[in-house]
């Protein structure tokens, strides 16, 4: 994790630098079906993060040698816009985004019923428009809503959420300063209904007990985020249903 700094991340009242309690998430907003052209899409605002996800497919997998004869592959491209961070990010994939794309793809492949679409690819594009710590988790959360919006058969939705440690306190959902100057970060992809952990990383310095406490915090929070995902999809389908009813009434 980051450098040592004389910055107080937890104040004397036990509150965090942005005023949150240790087990408190940043405000999260999720919207499904935000792009016209994509087969499915979602937009997530998570604190100061602004993230778009789009899904195309199932379609023929390219390049061909990637095709699997018995199932579809889920290809993910996690990308940060050059203007999404303080110092302009050079466009194109760097090593960090290649790694994030890979683990996100693995997490989503677990829930997508890939066996239904041999030789095809389901392409997921995650575009970070504004970054403020926790983009891989917000991106995974957005991507699973976009997949559902695209009508891709899935066993469940995946929730991305992180926890970590700052000033020796285990906290949920690290913000920017906490990410930079904190002691540990544990991003996680979790399926609340089955209790499966499909993405897990950690860096920093934690005892086993601290790590387990952090994971438990994330799992609790994931239940709430899962609700937001489902609510976004429900709203989207209500809107589609309303539009269709109006169309039918118009014809009559």
């Amino acid at each position: 994790m980051g450098m040592k700094m004389d910055i107080e991340l937890i104040d004397k009242n036990g509150l965090r630098i942005d005023g949150r309690k240790p087990e408190e998430l940043r405000p999260i907003k999720i919207e499904a079906g935000v792009l016209k052209r994509a087969d499915g899409s979602a937009y997530v605002e998570w604190g100061k993060n602004k993230i778009l996800a789009a899904v195309y497919g199932p379609r023929e997998a390219h390049p061909r040698h990637l095709q699997k004869s018995n199932k579809a592959i889920v290809q993910v491209r996690y990308n940060m816009a050059p203007f999404s961070v303080g110092d302009r990010k050079r466009p194109g994939p760097d090593r960090r985004s290649v790694e994030i794309s890979k683990i996100t793809s693995e997490a989503l492949e677990h829930v997508v019923m890939t066996e239904l679409f041999p030789r095809s690819s389901i392409d997921v594009f995650i575009e970070v428009l504004q970054a403020n710590a926790g983009t891989r988790c917000a991106g995974l959360t957005a991507a699973s809503v976009a997949l559902a919006d695209a009508g891709i058969p899935m066993k469940d939705l995946v929730v991305g959420v992180a926890s970590g440690k700052v000033d020796d306190v285990v906290v949920l959902d690290l913000g920017k300063e906490e990410d930079n100057y904190g002691q540990a970060d544990v991003p996680m992809g979790y399926i609340p209904r089955t209790g499966e952990i499909v993405l897990l990383q950690m860096d920093g310095d934690m005892t086993q007990e601290e790590l387990f406490k952090a994971m438990e915090m994330s799992m609790d929070a994931a239940k709430y985020i899962y609700g937001l995902q489902k609510e976004a999809l429900r709203k989207r389908y209500e809107m589609i249903a309303r539009e269709e009813t109006e169309e039918i009434e118009g014809v009559q």
């Binding site: 450098m3 544990v186 934690m206």
Partner: protein, 268 residues
């Protein structure tokens, strides 16, 4: 690393059936590593080097050092760069060309374990704050791939670092305005060790051999330090773990980390 390999149904069944009888196909216990051997200082042109065998997996790590500018946001510490190459000689599935996602993940996970585990005291690699620092390249070459590259690469990198000498005297002429001093041993601060587990059906195994890795559902690598603190983790493959399985793996990783650390210390 199970990329595009076609898995024989016979092999898959053989591994599954053996596990049902409580056995691994090479006869090991679930919590047992293959034979681990470490040899240091095997390459004289490198500042430090180590060759690690875990069973038939064979990797070579080398350290090269040069002098350069620090990053602006970390003016008082040296620079560390880790790279792992899956060279085509090591496996029929490795291809030449720019690093693919597999090797990038491997490099970054090895790097994370060493960096977060504070393996090297990076402040001691500062020559003059804000101006000149030691730049350290850790390059891991995979020579023969029979599974579990994460542990082999992380162990080779740690052993190579621990055996390295900072070549200060070589640079004296190039930087006459700075006092580089004499050659000195790499300032090692800590010995983080990575231990990798896979899940096949409902069984958790340490140190997967290639055949096991090929049929594995999920993988978890955990880097721990001598105090048993967790420094880095990476989950891979498209299967899932339950929370209880992860707790179990983290506890075992500490134990296995200590075993590997003993082997490392004896090799130095």
């Amino acid at each position: 690393m199970s990329g595009n390999k076609v898995v024989s149904e016979i092999l898959r069944d053989y591994i599954y059936n053996s596990l049902e009888e409580g056995k691994r196909i090479d006869g090991r216990g679930y919590d047992e590593y293959r034979k681990v051997s470490i040899e240091t200082n095997v390459i004289q042109s490198a500042e430090g080097s180590a060759r690690v065998h875990i069973g038939n997996t064979d990797v070579l790590a080398g350290i090269k050092m040069t002098i350069g500018s620090p990053f602006p946001d970390t003016p008082n510490v040296g620079v560390m760069t880790t790279n792992a190459e899956l060279i085509p000689m090591a496996s029929p599935t490795f291809e030449s060309g720019p690093p693919d996602a597999e090797s990038i993940e491997l490099s970054r996970v090895v790097d994370r374990g060493l960096r977060e585990g504070h393996a090297v005291d990076m402040e001691k690699l500062c020559i003059k704050e804000g101006e000149l620092v030691w730049i350290m390249f850790i390059d891991v070459h995979i020579l023969d791939y029979d599974g579990n590259l994460f542990d082999a690469a992380a162990l080779a990198a740690m052993a190579a670092l621990a055996s390295a000498t900072v070549p200060a005297s070589q640079f004296a002429d190039q930087y006459p305005d700075y006092d580089l001093g004499e050659d000195f041993p790499m300032p090692i601060n800590n010995y983080p060790i990575m231990s990798t587990f896979v899940k096949i059906k409902d069984v958790i195994l340490v140190d997967p051999a290639l055949d096991e890795e090929t049929v594995a559902d999920a993988r978890l690598s955990v880097s721990t330090d001598p105090e048993g603190r967790v420094r880095a983790m990476q989950k891979g493959l498209n299967g899932g773990f339950s929370y209880a399985e992860i707790q179990d793996i983290v506890r075992k990783a500490t134990e296995k980390g200590n075993e590997l650390r003993d082997i490392l210390m004896k090799s130095l």
